[in-house]
């Protein structure tokens, strides 16, 4: 069984995002795991994060201002894998830093570092050749995004070649802004699950344990990002404590859906 399959097998999973190089990333990642994160998304900073809201934009620029390089991100990933052999690790970012040395190079580095999956915001299924074949060749999952604008006609193309889980972006917009209505999430998840066997995780605008619990009742996973990144911004090097506490509150809410299901 893959790490992804394990993480989603127990019931709804909590997926936690922070930006690599923003603060003491290794300690922050450990705090997320200690708090009960089931899957980790590690953001690769980019100068032009055009799908992100202010919180993650600023985290990208803070990370780059501290001199974070692609090599540092793979070092963080490699060390994370040594400390946490069973927690799935996903790299999330933009096409240019992922493809600049060639997709094969990137896929190879992911495989060597123990990265389980990759989310690339600006490579839709139409441009799959840019990264998808290289990742699949190395056994790294390509995790695609589905959105409220992904209609039934497009969905098969989005699912084709994707694995690990499907990330449902619940609002047409950027990260960290408003949350979608619960009704629309339920409807969308039902539609996605009818079309696919892979787990469906829902994100964008999720901040409170209550929101997370409501989503966990209908989806296989809940993704939280901007809220973590804001804690890192606020607490700097002393972020691990608050991160762990916040993760624990979300994890309890998400995992309680397992028992009540």
């Amino acid at each position: 069984m893959t790490r992804f399959a394990n993480a989603f097998a127990k019931g709804p999973a909590l997926v936690c995002f922070i930006t690599a190089g923003d603060g003491d990333t290794a300690s922050n990642l450990d705090a997320l795991v200690a708090g009960g994160a089931d899957v980790i998304e590690l953001g690769m900073p980019f100068t032009d994060p055009m799908a992100d809201g202010p919180a993650i934009q600023e985290a990208n620029l803070r990370a780059l201002a501290r001199g974070t390089r692609t090599a540092d991100i793979f070092r963080i990933a490699t060390e994370f894998r040594q400390r946490h052999p069973n927690v799935p690790l996903v790299l999330m970012g933009y096409a240019n830093p992922m493809t600049i040395r060639g997709p094969e190079w990137f896929a190879d580095e992911c495989a060597k570092a123990g990265v389980d999956g990759v989310i690339c915001v600006d490579i839709p299924s139409e441009e799959d050749a840019e990264l998808g074949p290289a990742l699949r060749e190395k056994g790294v999952s390509l995790i695609r995004l589905a959105t409220p604008t992904t209609d039934a006609a497009r969905l098969p193309a989005v699912l084709n070649g994707s694995s690990g889980f499907l990330y449902y972006v619940s609002v047409a917009g950027i990260t960290g802004m408003q949350q979608a209505a619960q009704g629309s999430i339920e409807e969308a998840v039902a539609r996605l699950k009818a079309a696919s066997d892979i787990p469906v995780a829902v994100g964008f605008g999720v901040r409170t344990p209550e929101q997370a619990a409501a989503i966990a009742k209908v989806a296989d996973g809940v993704v939280v990002g901007s809220a973590f990144v804001e804690i890192v911004k606020q607490h700097g090097d002393s972020a691990p404590g608050p991160l762990q506490d916040y993760t624990a509150s979300l994890a309890e809410a998400v995992h309680s859906a397992r028992i009540n299901a």
């Binding site: 980019f46 100068t47 032009d48 780059l64 390089r69 992922m98 441009e127 497009r154």
Partner: protein
């Protein structure tokens, strides 16, 4: 996609929106359905005689087309004197500076707003650097009564106050963008962020022949009126095609509009002028072809200024319209195919050409166009005097007089 003919350079992009390895549709999934929709609607519009007729009529009655092809006698004489004996071609200017709003930008804005209305979109957004595309967009939005929001880097808002006021007079809302370096690249990021959250009712009028497919194609097609007119005007004036076309390349829409109708005429040479800033051997320039390498940004694959990790680096040019770290994908492809030669020109060379054009022809060119004019010393020295050379004077320089005065140390 135009009809594919294997021997034609004019038949690109291919069905998937690529020019060779360049172009494409590198956007977030939320935008993909809209981009596909736009492509479909654009194909239908191209086939619709009523769309074309409305576009042509507005170019004539609102923009003031055709723009003249002007034989520039004193500039021709000037460079003939400097050139070796028997060299120094006859120089023509394509006068896009005489268009309504003072530049070629309006051609594209007319075409895109007609598409927006055809698609039932009720709100218009655009990005702008110096404000020229913002003014052109605000102009067409006012003409058709659609609300319009212009994203502009906060630094540019400060630097380009007259254009900010123009946009406001035209009824547009100007949103200062405070992320990143607060210039054109950041304005484009912010416009994309706004668009992704408002795809249902909002049309994004991109200002240059770049961005996700089909933008590079449709912007080029709308701007091709420049080259199509030049061709007819030159045939009428001289009875033959020009020997060389010269145009400045920022995003590259005035250049591709001028070049595209001539791509299959091998006897017509083409030179694109990049902004060399302080020099392409410094870190302060905007010459993406000379100093960059292929990468993915803002929806397309093209040459970009970037570091080895693929982080985008800041561009610099004295001309705000050329101050962008990439360029349209068709230029990247024409560069690699060897069909168009791309040459960098520095800030100071452009400043010199700016003054020369004012003094010799009574025309104040935009700093963008001054880059094209600045290539004349080297280009004319190589060409026989019976040859014909056309410079695309893409815009007028009234907007640039403050920048030029400052660069020359003149207090206004």
């Amino acid at each position: 996609m135009t009809v594919q003919s294997p021997n034609s350079l004019r038949s690109y992009p291919d069905e998937s929106g690529h020019f060779g390895q360049f172009g494409g549709r590198y956007v977030a999934e939320t935008l993909m359905p809209l981009i596909l929709d736009l492509e479909k609607e654009y194909r239908a519009a191209r086939q619709d005689p009523a769309f074309q007729a409305q576009f042509d009529d507005l170019l004539k009655t609102f923009v003031g087309r055709p723009s003249p092809l002007y034989p520039a006698p004193r500039v021709t004489e000037h460079f003939r004197k400097l050139a070796p004996k028997g060299k120094g071609p006859k120089i023509y200017f394509k006068r896009e500076d005489l268009n309504h709003t003072g530049a070629h930008k309006i051609n594209n804005c007319i075409g895109q707003i007609l598409l927006a209305m055809r698609m039932g979109k009720t709100k218009i957004i655009a990005e702008t650097g110096a404000g020229q595309h913002g003014v052109a967009t605000a102009t067409v939005a006012a003409r058709f009564g659609l609300p319009c929001t212009i994203f502009m880097g906060a630094k540019d808002v400060e630097r380009q106050k007259p254009n900010v006021f123009r946009m406001k007079l035209l009824g547009a809302e100007v949103m200062p963008v405070t992320s990143g370096a607060e210039t054109l690249k950041d304005a484009m990021n912010e416009a994309l962020r706004h668009w992704v959250a408002n795809v249902h009712d909002t049309f994004y009028i991109i200002g240059t022949a770049a961005g996700p497919h089909p933008y590079p194609e449709l912007v080029r097609d709308f701007q091709s009126v420049i080259g199509t007119e030049t061709r007819a005007q030159m045939l009428e004036a001289e009875g033959r095609l020009p020997d060389m076309l010269v145009a400045a390349v920022g995003g590259g829409s005035n250049a591709i509009g001028m070049f595209h109708p001539f791509l299959d005429d091998p006897e017509v040479a083409m030179v694109g002028i990049e902004a060399g800033g302080h020099g392409v051997d410094t870190d302060k320039h905007a010459a993406s072809l000379t100093g960059g390498k292929p990468g993915i940004l803002h929806g397309n694959k093209t040459y970009l200024l970037q570091d080895e990790d693929g982080q985008i680096t800041e561009a610099h040019s004295i001309s705000a319209g050329l101050d962008y770290p990439g360029l349209g994908p068709e230029h990247s492809w024409l560069h690699e195919a060897g069909r168009v030669r791309y040459v960098p020109i520095t800030d100071s060379e452009a400043l010199e050409a700016f003054q020369l054009c004012c003094a010799l022809e009574g025309i104040i060119p935009a700093l963008e166009s001054a880059h094209a004019l600045a290539a004349l010393p080297q280009l004319t020295a190589e060409m026989d005097e019976d040859k014909l050379l056309v410079v695309n004077v893409s815009g007028r320089g009234d907007k640039d007089i403050f920048t030029v005065a400052e660069a020359l140390g003149v207090e206004l």
